[in-house]
């Protein structure tokens, strides 16, 4: 008869006590399984959200904050970075942009019922994956929003469920990042698609057209800031460039016209907005207060823009023909950029604007050229609006144009449906998918070396974060549960120890039958091992059954799928280790068996 059987018989003999002590062990182990699985769920769901692209680019500051804010829609954003920086990222000829495959801008600042509202471009859902190999999909009946339709939006599955929104509904983003914002309601966006659950934080966000976002109240960068920022930012060496630009400008302009390029829109805007802003003492973007009618706006502006300048006139006409549809299919920025790519603009500039501006202000600009460098600067940097208002470039032609536009704006029909000029735009962050891992690290280094922005690799930041914080929480939890197992082990020990008095005679009998001290010690140890082991196995089964039962719920909440066979690698080390530890608890009673005085125990009356 083996030691195991001998031990098993003695467990059977005290079935109830054995079952109870074994069960306490099982509960402890099940708890460990639960903690490990919970930790895995948290880690997986975090990592999942952080995959799909290489970098998050944003304002200098805490990397963790940038990642938490951009990827997980947690915490407040750091400040914004200029739109021009984003444009560098999407310019293949740029030192930064050459590393980039896809760059998606994020504009934050609003919420709807506590869910983040993200101003972005449709490419987010078509050119990026939300996890490795997983593409965004829309629930039946929905589609991605279109860039030309400024007030379209797509929402995450959780938002749809909890805020009871569906395709066709409209919602008004509220200024601020949480429910406790200032409560100012923006224009309404129409939901055209609901994302299928992704298990990422994006399930909890609403995505609106970035163009629409910019047109919302208070989303334009205040003009005086624009004006103040530019001259400082621009290297003086630009004069030259500008001359060059001018030469090109006409061509470029024509190109635009011919191609019915959306850049035109911009041109219009550039003029219109700043002027109006000037009129209202720099209070930018008031124009769109209230309305949302994408279609008519641009046309109206065209009409209104009577004719201070033939060029301009022409452009508008073209633009009109182009109609919104064609024009807006591409991000407005794109074209401009390409066109001017060859001009060697110093980084961080708003080239397009500059170009267009020149068109209009050509006379003045050329005239001015020899005069003041600083002035020149402004003009070229695309601040003509600012220039006019602040710098008092009292150029007649210019002023004309200004007034014209201003008047038109005031007439009210241009409201809201012309994109915000780029120099009034900012982005909170940019998601970057590089051309490869090496490109990504290259880009990250370059961006971080610069002054304007930082780039964070979300997976690394999150791994760090886990290392520092989540891991220690896990360790604390695991220590607690490990303690439970140790207590269960002590329970087993006490149970066996208490039984020793009853069993001393049995032990003595075994000794009399020829069992050695070592044998009786082993029998007791084996008994403790069996109890721990059985408890451990039951605990693992119990834990995983629980996981399997809760799996679908967890998957619904986090997108992390859990099955019965979801084992954590720590489980494979920790549980055997703890069971072994518990088994050793049997050593004390076993020692007592070892020391049994056979002669005395046999002589004692039963």
């Amino acid at each position: 008869m083996s030691l195991w059987k001998i031990a098993w018989r003695s467990i059977q003999q005290r079935a109830l006590a054995s079952a109870l002590t074994g069960f306490s062990m099982a509960l402890g182990v099940a708890l460990i399984v639960a903690v490990l699985v919970a930790q895995k769920v948290i880690r997986d769901s975090f990592t999942r959200g952080a995959s799909g692209y290489h970098l998050v680019v944003g304002k200098k500051g805490s990397q963790l904050q940038l990642v938490l804010n951009t990827v997980y829609h947690l915490q407040d954003p750091i400040e914004n970075i200029p739109y021009s920086y984003y444009k560098r990222l999407i310019t293949p000829s740029d030192d930064l942009g050459k590393n980039v495959k896809v760059a998606i801008p994020y504009c934050l600042g609003d919420n709807y019922e506590g869910f983040r509202v993200v101003g972005t471009i449709p490419d987010l859902f078509t050119k990026l994956e939300y996890a490795d190999g997983k593409k965004y999909e829309f629930e039946e009946g929905g589609r991605n929003f279109r860039l030309k339709n400024y007030f379209e939006a797509v929402i995450g599955s959780t938002v749809a469920r909890e805020a009871k929104l569906k395709v066709g509904d409209e919602f008004q983003p509220v200024h601020g990042l949480s429910d406790e914002g200032d409560g100012h309601k923006h224009d309404a966006f129409k939901i055209v698609g609901v994302l299928k659950p992704t298990g990422t934080a994006n399930d909890r966000a609403l995505f609106i057209n970035i163009e629409g976002f910019y047109l919302l109240e208070n989303h334009a960068k205040p003009l005086d800031e624009v004006a103040a920022a530019k001259p400082a930012a621009k290297p003086p060496a630009d004069d030259h460039d500008h001359a060059h630009d001018h030469a090109h400008d006409k061509d470029a302009d024509h190109d635009h016209a011919d191609h019915k390029d959306p850049a035109h829109d911009h041109a219009d805007h550039d003029h219109a907005k700043p002027e109006e802003a000037g009129h209202k003492d720099g209070e930018a973007a008031h124009d769109h207060e209230g309305e949302a009618q994408p279609a008519g706006g641009a046309k109206a502006s065209a009409e209104g823009k009577a004719a201070p300048d033939e060029h301009a006139d022409h452009d508008h006409a073209k633009h009109d023909e182009a109609e919104h549809e064609k024009a807006a299919d591409k991000p407005p920025a794109d074209h401009d950029h390409d066109e001017h790519a060859g001009h060697d603009h110093p980084p961080g500039e708003a080239h397009d604007h500059a170009d267009h501006d020149h068109d209009h202000a050509e006379k003045g600009a050329t005239d001015k050229a020899p005069a003041d460098k600083a002035h020149d600067h402004d003009a070229h940097a695309g601040h003509d609006h600012a220039d006019h208002d602040h710098d008092a470039h009292d150029d007649a032609g210019h002023d004309h144009a200004d007034h014209d536009h201003a008047g038109h704006d005031h007439s009210g029909h241009s409201h809201s449906h012309e994109p915000l000029p780029e120099d009034q735009r900012e982005v909170t962050a940019v998601l970057v998918l590089a051309k490869g891992d090496l490109y990504a690290s290259n880009l990250r280094t370059k961006i971080n070396e610069g002054e304007q922005a930082q780039a964070a690799a979300p997976i690394r930041v999150i791994a760090d974060f886990f290392q520092k914080i989540v891991n220690s929480i896990t360790v604390a939890l695991l220590s607690l549960t490990a303690l439970i197992i140790v207590i269960s082990g002590i329970g087993i020990m006490v149970s066996i120890y208490n039984s020793m008095n009853d069993r001393r005679r049995d032990i003595a009998v075994m000794r009399a039958l020829g069992a050695s001290r070592g044998t009786v010690l082993a029998v007791i140890l084996v008994e403790s091992i069996l109890l721990s082991l059985a408890g451990g196995v039951v605990g693992v089964l119990l834990g995983h059954t629980l996981v399997a039962i809760l799996g679908p719920i967890v998957e619904g909440q986090t997108g992390v799928s859990l099955g019965f066979f979801q084992f954590d690698k720590y489980e494979l080390v920790l549980i055997p280790g703890l069971v072994a530890l518990a088994s050793l608890m049997g050593y004390l009673p076993a020692l007592s068996a070892y020391r049994t005085d056979v002669a005395k125990a046999l002589s004692a009356s039963p």
């Binding site: 008869m1 083996s2 001998i6 018989r9 003695s10 059977q12 003999q13 005679r505 049995d506 009998v509 075994m510 000794r511 009399a512 039958l513 020829g514 069992a515 050695s516 001290r517 070592g518 044998t519 056979v598 002669a599 046999l602 002589s603 009356s605 039963p606």
Partner: protein, 223 residues
């Protein structure tokens, strides 16, 4: 078969005094010999059996069993020797309550280092009349049946010496003779030397050799 020479053992009393229990100048048993050992309570019968079985060690003297001086063996050596050579039947049977009749016999075979011979265990139980109660736990057996299991268990390893410590003291008189007969028959059949401790004349009268421990044991004389 068995030779004791100048075996002395004493206990230290709580007050520190030395209390002699055993002082046996000489005691011999031949192979296959059966004898009854008599003596009143407290005269050291059980202690003597423990010394012979190697459960206890004498303070001095020679205890030679089957040619081996077990008093010189280390404890684990004596344990192993006991498992291989000595059968022990207790007054209180001392079956393990968690084990069936068969398992109790098999348990007796578990400490020899060899494989338990289940065939022999069944045969032994059959011989003691329990062939149909192999899987019964001790609590389900009568007192007489329990002691018969104990006899089978003691015989399990083909011992050379069988020690029976008042095996019928707890058995009702009706079954007393049955047990004695069984023990003697088994000993005879396997040519096992038997030392049967009893204080019942009806039992001792059946043996050709009856030893009075009072006479063997000088310690008792001195008391």
């Amino acid at each position: 078969m068995l030779l004791l020479e100048n075996v002395k053992k004493s206990y230290t009393e709580p007050d520190g005094a030395n209390l002699p229990i055993l002082d046996i100048p000489e005691f011999r048993v031949a192979p296959g010999e059966q004898l009854a050992l008599m003596g009143r309570s407290g005269c050291g019968k059980t202690t003597l059996l423990h010394v012979i079985a190697g459960i206890s060690r004498p303070d001095s003297g020679l205890v030679r069993v089957a040619g081996v001086d077990i008093a010189r063996l280390p404890e684990h050596g004596r344990d192993r020797f006991r498992a291989d050579n000595i059968g022990y039947i207790f007054q209180t049977f001392n079956l393990l309550p968690g084990f069936s009749a068969l398992e109790n016999v098999l348990l007796g075979m578990s400490f020899t280092g060899g494989r338990a011979d289940e065939g022999r265990a069944r045969k032994l139980l059959d011989q003691v009349g329990l062939g149909r109660r192999l899987s019964h736990k001790p609590a389900m057996l009568s007192v007489g049946e329990q002691q018969r299991v104990a006899v089978a268990r003691a015989m399990a390893n083909r011992p050379k010496l069988l020690l029976a410590d008042e095996p019928t003291a707890n058995v009702d008189t009706g079954h007393q003779q049955q047990i004695i007969d069984l023990i003697r028959a088994q000993s005879t059949e396997e040519n096992v030397a038997l030392i049967l401790v009893t204080h019942t004349p009806e039992v001792s009268d059946q043996f050709t050799r009856v030893e009075q421990l009072d006479r063997l044991n000088q310690a008792v004389v001195n008391v």
